[in-house]
């Protein structure tokens, strides 16, 4: 029996440090990748001055935001104004505590799980915690003492709340197929089924991802924060480090949605056709890779694929007008996801129970 101080305090602290470090660096570098990828899509180069070929750009941006003057509007509600960015960033980071990056492996003779906690209500935890982010948006918009920020904040909040419903319904279809709320068990269920849930649940997959784009206020659903619109976004009055937090939260949310989509629909850390091609994956060509890197590598590749699609959307689509956006959420996505739920439920019964 391992020392409880090590098992319950030291190891989780180390995991927290690793996860937070990786996620924050990933969110920061995501801004860099976005600028580069968008630039290449727009036949230009993007940042290439800071560091070798521009790779130190996010560090420069972070430093700049850190030392920027912190302007607080004179009649802003001080405490709530400070709380806004916190309430947006904290949930985005907390969600990573339940996302699994692989199966357990041994390190220095001890059994280590590459996730912080395997909560048996994992999905519910994620949905609940990420909904707290809506508070940050509304409070940030209200506390700025600027009627345009308030309007932007309310619009953004309405959008977030509306698109959570079809997202939740898509997630429920996965639960029907996996028969568990725990994220680790969902991935293991996909291994047992031998197929990623994106194939039988392709409608849910599509709806989940598009609603995820709407949840993160990204193009084509970024009207609340678009600069060419009459109403400014909720983060107009923020500067310096607080703005950096909103910025970070947006990218962290993108990573969250992509990670959850990977876990629920693309088999988490599993390779393609894990059972059917099991022999191929076990061949000597891949045998030299330690399992933890193998699993994390597959996870990262799939997450990056989603992030690339996020950026691709931004470079391609015009944006929806707000009433069209809400109509899309309520009149298209919710009915479709409801029907899909019933169809998948029926399908699961016909196939002889969840697997």
């Amino acid at each position: 029996m391992a020392n409880p101080w090590v098992a319950y305090l030291l190891v989780p602290l180390v995991k927290i440090a690793v996860i937070l470090g990786v996620v924050i660096m990933l969110a920061a570098y995501l801004s860099f990748f976005e600028r580069k990828i968008l630039a290449y899509m727009q036949i230009r180069i993007g940042p290439n001055r800071v560091g070798p070929r521009g790779w130190l750009q996010p560090i420069a941006d972070a430093l700049k935001l850190f030392v920027k003057e912190d302007i607080v509007p004179s009649r802003a509600e001080k405490l709530v104004y400070l709380l806004g960015p916190v309430l947006v960033t904290a949930p985005a980071l907390v969600v990573f505590s339940v996302i699994p990056f692989g199966t357990s492996f041994t390190l220095f003779g001890a059994e280590v799980t590459p996730y912080l906690a395997d909560v048996n209500i994992g999905i519910l935890f994620i949905l609940g915690v990420s909904s707290v982010g809506v508070y940050g948006v509304i409070l940030g918009g209200w506390a700025s003492n600027n009627k345009f920020s308030l309007m932007g904040g309310l619009r953004s909040a309405a959008q977030l709340v509306s698109y959570e419903v079809p997202m939740g319904l898509s997630v429920v279809t996965v639960l029907l197929m996996a028969n568990s709320l725990s994220l680790v068990k969902i991935v293991e269920a996909q291994k047992a089924a031998g197929i990623w849930y994106a194939v039988p649940g392709f409608v849910a997959f599509f709806i989940y991802f598009v609603c995820g784009v709407a949840e993160t206020n990204r193009n084509p659903f970024d009207l609340p924060e678009a600069e060419s619109e009459l109403v400014a976004g909720f983060h107009t009055e923020y500067s310096g480090m607080k703005f950096a937090f909103y910025f970070l939260a947006e990218y962290a949310n993108m990573v969250v949605i992509s990670s959850i989509a990977t876990v629920l629909f693309l088999g988490g850390w599993l390779p393609i056709f894990p059972n059917w091609l099991a022999g191929f994956w076990a061949s000597p060509a891949f045998a030299w890779i330690p399992p933890v890197l193998w699993n994390a590598g597959w996870f990262l590749v799939k997450t990056f694929a989603f992030l690339f699609v996020y950026i691709w959307f931004r470079g391609t689509f015009p944006r929806y007008r707000f009433d069209q956006l809400m109509a899309l959420g309520w009149k298209v996505f919710i009915p479709v996801s409801l029907v899909n739920l019933m169809a998948v439920g029926l399908g699961v019964l016909l196939v002889g129970g969840p697997r």
Binding site: I43, K147, S228, R314, T316, R321, F322
Partner: protein
């Protein structure tokens, strides 16, 4: 008196009046629009202009006729060649000068290239306002090629000063026609690329179909010209009705829309770019040899009288009303600005629509404040 206070609730109503601009990324210049909102609906939108008024018409009265040409460049600064063409055409009309055919054909090529260049700015900025960020870069890439051709010809990219009364100041450089032909031959493929990105895009159609509708009768009543008039279904183009500069010797179509909404105006301008390519190709094929300047006196002194002459600029009918008293400077030189008149119809087009549509309509009118304010 004018109520220009930003954002105050109007008494006894739920309405709010917001000042949009003059510094705003989407107003295409220093335009201010006082918008009366009822919730999200626009009740009225009143454009306030004059932030770029430079007294151009007063300056014209001090300059000679050829000296006034650079001032015309700076009116609609995205379409300098057609501005020049209008002024020199008006003076030639009042003097009875015939321009040599080579000069006329080169003028046509410059004007049609300018139409393409102006429409590329329109497409890039309009798409950017509606949210599509990438077409801006693609269209400006093509515009750079046109500006390179202009730079080679007259030394300037934007404010060309490329025409004189009686013809042109310079003949084409060696190889210019070859480079021009290379550009126009590859251009239709670019238009097809941009159309692939936008025309059938569901979101684009949602944002532009049915937005900013104006009927043909309203368009005529409000004096619209150019793509806003053609988008409403009126087949009207100065190049066909009052041909100047040998436009009657080249074949081209006038695209018209049906419903007078933003989508139709978009399609009209895309097709106009294709027709401009067609005109340039024909002009290059037919380009005659000869002088580029007619025999005009050194000091241009038109007889006493008045003449109105208009060209089909990219934004609409651009007219010049010249009143001469026999001297070397114009007694009165008035510009009929297409954007000024088109902008007047803005309240008519946005009444009852949502705030986000205001941006789309300002973009579709394709206004340039230099021409509006002069």
């Amino acid at each position: 008196m004018t109520n220009l206070e930003p954002t105050k609730p109007l008494p006894d109503s739920e309405e709010m009046e917001i000042s949009f601009g003059p510094q705003h990324p989407a107003t295409h210049g220093v335009l201010r629009v006082m918008v009366k909102l009822d919730g999200e609906r626009i009740v009225d939108a009143r454009p306030v202009i004059g932030y770029l008024h430079r007294g151009t018409e007063k300056i014209f009265e001090r300059e000679t006729y050829n000296g006034a040409i650079p001032h015309t460049d700076r009116m609609d600064y995205t379409a300098a060649a057609t501005n020049n063409q209008g002024l020199v055409g008006a003076v030639e009309r009042i003097m009875g000068v015939t321009v040599p055919p080579r000069a006329a054909y080169i003028r046509m090529i410059l004007a049609e290239l300018q139409r393409i260049a102006s429409h590329t700015i329109w497409l890039g900025t309009h798409a950017l306002d509606i949210g599509a960020q990438s077409p801006f870069f693609y269209t400006f890439q093509e515009r750079e090629k046109i500006l390179d051709l202009y730079e080679e010809y007259c030394g300037a990219r934007l404010t060309l000063n490329a025409m004189r009364v009686g013809g042109l100041p310079y003949d084409l450089t060696d190889g210019w026609t070859g480079r021009c032909r290379a550009f126009v031959d590859q251009f239709p493929a670019r238009i097809a690329e941009w159309e692939r990105l936008l025309t059938a895009n569901r979101i684009w159609k949602l944002r532009t179909v049915g937005v900013g509708v104006i009927s043909a009768e309203s368009a005529i009543e409000w004096g619209l010209t150019g793509p806003p008039l053609r988008g409403s279904g009126v087949k009207w183009d100065i190049r066909k009705v009052f041909p100047y500069d040998h436009y009657n010797e080249v074949e081209f179509e006038i695209p018209i829309g049906t419903s007078g909404d933003t989508y139709d105006r978009y399609l009209v301008r895309m097709e106009e770019m294709r027709q401009s390519v067609r005109i340039v190709q024909q002009c290059l094929a037919k380009l005659p040899d000869g002088p580029v300047m007619a025999k005009v006196p050194k000091v241009i002194k038109p007889p006493k009288g008045e003449v109105y002459f208009s060209v089909e600029g990219p934004k609409g009918e651009l007219g010049y009303y010249v009143v001469s008293d026999g001297g070397a400077s114009p007694y009165r030189l008035h510009v009929r600005p297409s954007c000024f008149i088109n902008l007047q119809a803005l309240p008519e087009m946005v009444r009852g629509q949502l705030v986000a549509d205001l941006i789309a309509v300002i973009g579709t009118l394709d206004i340039v404040l230099g021409e509006i304010d002069r």
